[in-house]
Amino acid sequence: MPGSIGCPLAHLGPRFCGKIVEPVNPYLPIFVMIALASVICIAMVSLSWLLGPKKSTAYKESPFECGVAPTGSAHERFPIKFYLTAMLFILFDIEVVFLWSWMTVFRGWVEKGTPSAMYSFWAVMVYMVLWFLGDFYVLRSGALEWEESKTLHPEKFGKAVDEEAPYVQPVSEDAA
C-alpha cells in the first residue's frame, strides 16, 4: 500500500505520511508541470537562435534533396491510404472509448456480485462481437493493403442479363 512502508518524512508529522494528502485541486501540479515544461521547451528551441552564428547563404537555405536542385512544391498530394488509416483510427478509437466507463465499474460489480456484472458483461460481449466483425471486415475488404485498391470481382456482375452488351469494367462518366 502506498505510504505504509516506512515513510522518510514521518518526522514532519502525521499529515505527511500514512494518508495521501490531497491538494485543494489535484490537477494543480499538472498545470504547474505543463507551464514549466512549456517554458523549457520554448527556451530550448529558441536558445540556439540567440547563441549560434547567423551566416546564411542561398545554398544553405535550399531544401535538402541529396544535392539536386529541388523541383516542384514539397507539399504534394499523398496517397489516400493515409486518410483511410486516419479514419479507421478515429473509428476504432471512438469504439473503444465507449468501454472506458464500463471498465472502471466492472471490477466493483464483480466483487459485489451484483446482477449488473453479468448483465453488463454480456452487453459488452455483444458490443465486442460487432467490434470484431467490423475489424474483420476492414481487414477483409483490403482497407489496409497498401498496394491494392478494391475493385469488384467480375463474378459480382452475375450472368449478363442483356447479351448484346457484354460486361466491362465501369466507365467513368462525366456527362454534364
Partner: protein, 526 residues
C-alpha cells in the same frame, strides 16, 4: 471514488417492441458477414437475406397490430428481462405506439421494394457492391429509431445512423463525378444540419434538464419557470426544427435535394426520397407534438405554415423548369414535403382533436409512389451508363409497356388524380386544413397541385408519347425484381385509392369518434 460502489442494478428493458429494429439491424450485420466471407460471388444471397429479414420485421409489426404479440407477461432469461409493459420499450427510450409502428412499416416496405429492384440496377451500373444492402438496412434502422422515440439523444442517434449510411450510399458510384459531388454535398450539409440539431438538443437540455421531449411541456406548464429557460428553449426548438427541416428537405433547407437525388444511384435516391422522408416526418411529428403550449404554438405554427407554403411553391416552380427526370422527382419530393407539412401543422393546431392518420396515410402513399417511379426510372441504366434526361426515356412504352403503364399510375398519384393513394391523401390533408381554419393553406395546396400536373405530365409524355431517339434511348431489359417492385407499387397505390377506409382502419390512427374503431391511439397525445 469508484463508481462501482453505486448500488446499480440493470434497468428493466422491454425488448419486444424493439424487435423489428433489432431484426433489421442483425440482418444488415449478417449481410455484411456474407459479403465478407464470399466477396467473389454474386449478391443474390445477400438480397434474399435482406428481403427475408425485412419481411420478418414487417410481419412482426402487423402481427402486433392484429394479435398484440409484443404484450407478453414479464419473464427473465439469462438476466435479461423480456415482456412487461411495451410502452416502456428499451428502458423508456423507445415508445411503442401505432404511429411509430406505421412509420416503421412504411420504412420497411420502402426498403423492401428498393432492394427488390436494386440488384439489377446496380449490376447495370457496374456497382454491385455487397455493402450496399447492409448500408440500406442500417439506414432503415436509423429511420425506424427516429420514428419511435421521444428522447432527443435517440433522435440524434437514429438521424446519424440514417444519414451516415446514406452519405456512403450517395457516393457508391465513386467513379462518377456526379455521385462524388452528391456524396460530398450531402455529407457537408448533413453534418452542418446535424450540428444544428445537436446544438438545439443541447439548448433544450439546458433549459429543461432532460433530453426527453416531454420536458418541454413540463417546463412550460411549470408556473414558476425561469423566463430565461423559456427563451433558451425557443432557440433550441428552432434549431431542432432546422435540423429536421434539412432531413425532410423543407425550404429553405432544400438546396441539397436535387443535386443529391440526381447524383446518387437511382435506387439510393428512391430510398432517400421515401425512407429518409418518412423518418424525418416521423421525428418531426413527435417533436411538434410536444410543443402543445399556446405560447409555443403561437410562435411556431405560423412559421411552420409559411414554411409549408414556401416548400410546396418553390419545389413545384423549380420542378417546372427541369429537364432531368431525377431532378424533377427531387423537386417534386420537396413539394410533397410541403403538403405533408400542411398535414402536420393542422394536426398540431388541432391539439389532439384530429388523428395522425392523414400524415401517415400521405407518407405511405407518397413513399410507395415515389419508389415505384424510381424503379421505372432506373431502367435507363445500361452497361455502366445511365441517362436521366427526359429524352432518355422516350420510347420506354415500346420497350417495357408494363413499366410505362405503371409510371402513368405513379405520376397520377403524385399529381393527385383519382383513384390513387395520392389523391386520397391530398383530400385528407384538405379536410384537415379546412377543419382547422387553415383555408389559405388549403388554397395554396390546391394551386400547387394544379401546378405540379404540368411536370408530371411531362414525364408521362416522355415515357409514353414521344418517339425514341435511337442514339439516346437505351433501356435495360426489365428484370423480375424491378417488374415486381413497380407492379406491387402500382397495385398498392391503386388499392390505397380504392380501399381507403380499410387502410385507415388497419392503421388505427384516426380518432375513435371518426373511424368508429375501438383501437386506442397513443400517438395523438404529445
Amino acid at each position: 471514488m469508484n463508481l462501482g460502489d453505486a448500488p446499480l442494478t440493470p434497468a428493466p428493458i422491454v425488448w419486444e417492441p424493439m424487435l423489428p429494429m433489432i431484426i433489421v439491424f442483425v440482418t444488415g450485420v449478417l449481410c455484411m458477414c456474407v459479403e465478407m466471407l464470399r466477396p467473389k460471388q454474386t449478391n443474390n444471397l445477400i438480397v434474399v437475406l435482406s428481403l427475408a429479414g425485412l419481411a420478418v420485421a414487417g410481419a412482426l409489426i402487423v402481427l402486433d397490430w392484429t394479435a398484440a404479440v409484443f404484450h407478453q407477461p414479464p419473464s427473465e432469461f439469462f438476466g435479461v428481462r423480456f415482456g412487461g409493459s411495451p410502452e416502456e420499450a428499451g428502458g423508456g427510450l423507445f415508445i411503442h405506439d401505432r404511429f411509430g409502428q406505421s412509420v416503421q412499416l412504411i420504412l420497411i416496405a420502402s426498403t423492401f421494394i428498393t432492394i427488390l429492384f436494386s440488384e439489377g440496377y446496380l449490376r447495370e451500373r457496374r456497382i454491385p457492391f455487397g455493402e450496399y444492402y447492409p448500408l440500406v438496412l442500417w439506414s432503415a434502422v436509423g429511420g425506424m429509431i427516429m420514428a419511435s422515440t421521444r428522447d432527443l439523444m435517440i433522435f440524434f442517434l437514429g438521424l446519424e445512423t440514417l444519414s451516415i449510411a446514406l452519405y456512403v450510399l450517395a457516393g457508391l458510384n465513386s467513379k462518377e463525378k456526379r455521385s462524388q459531388e452528391a456524396a460530398l454535398k450531402y455529407f457537408l450539409l448533413g453534418a452542418f444540419a446535424s450540428s444544428f440539431l445537436l446544438f438545439g438538443i443541447a439548448l433544450i437540455y439546458g433549459a429543461t434538464g432532460t433530453t426527453h421531449i416531454l420536458g418541454i411541456p413540463m417546463l412550460m406548464n411549470h408556473a414558476s419557470a425561469d423566463p430565461t429557460a423559456g427563451k433558451i428553449l425557443i432557440g433550441g426548438i428552432a434549431m431542432v426544427l432546422i435540423g429536421f427541416g434539412f432531413k425532410a428537405a423543407l425550404v429553405p433547407f432544400h438546396m441539397w435535394t436535387p443535386d443529391v437525388y440526381q447524383g446518387a444511384p437511382t435506387t439510393v435516391t428512391a430510398f432517400m426520397a421515401a425512407g429518409s422522408k418518412a423518418a424525418a416526418f416521423g421525428a418531426l411529428v413527435r417533436f411538434v407534438g410536444a410543443i402543445t403550449q399556446p405560447e409555443l404554438i403561437d410562435a411556431w405554427l405560423p412559421a411552420l405554415a409559411i414554411v409549408a407554403v414556401l416548400t410546396m411553391t418553390v419545389g413545384n416552380l423549380i420542378a417546372l423548369a427541369q429537364r432531368d427526370a431525377k431532378r424533377i422527382i427531387g423537386y417534386s419530393s420537396i413539394a410533397h414535403a410541403g403538403y405533408l407539412l400542411v398535414a402536420v401543422v393542422a394536426w398540431a393546431h388541432s391539439r389532439g382533436s384530429i388523428g395522425l392518420d392523414t400524415v401517415v396515410y400521405y407518407l405511405g402513399a407518397y413513399s410507395i409512389t415515389t419508389i415505384g417511379a424510381f424503379a421505372v426510372l432506373s431502367l435507363t441504366a445500361k452497361a455502366g451508363r445511365e441517362g436521366t434526361q427526359l429524352e432518355d426515356y422516350n420510347g420506354l412504352w415500346k420497350r417495357a409497356p408494363f413499366a410505362a403503364a405503371a409510371m402513368i399510375v405513379f405520376m397520377a398519384s403524385l399529381a393527385g388524380v383519382p383513384p390513387t393513394g395520392g389523391f386520397v391523401g391530398k383530400l385528407l390533408i384538405f379536410k384537415d386544413a379546412l377543419d382547422q381554419d387553415y383555408t389559405w393553406l388549403a388554397i395554396a395546396l390546391g394551386i400547387n397541385s394544379v401546378l405540379s400536373v404540368f411536370y408530371y405530365l411531362r414525364i408521362v409524355f416522355a415515357v409514353c408519347v414521344d418517339e425514341p431517339d435511337e442514339r439516346r434511348s437505351q433501356f435495360a431489359k426489365p428484370n423480375a425484381g424491378m417488374l415486381t417492385a413497380a407492379g406491387a407499387c402500382a397495385l398498392a397505390v391503386l388499392a390505397m385509392g380504392v380501399f381507403t377506409s380499410a387502410v385507415l382502419q388497419t392503421m388505427g390512427l384516426s380518432l375513435p369518434a371518426e373511424s368508429g374503431s375501438a383501437s386506442r391511439s397513443v400517438a395523438q397525445k404529445p
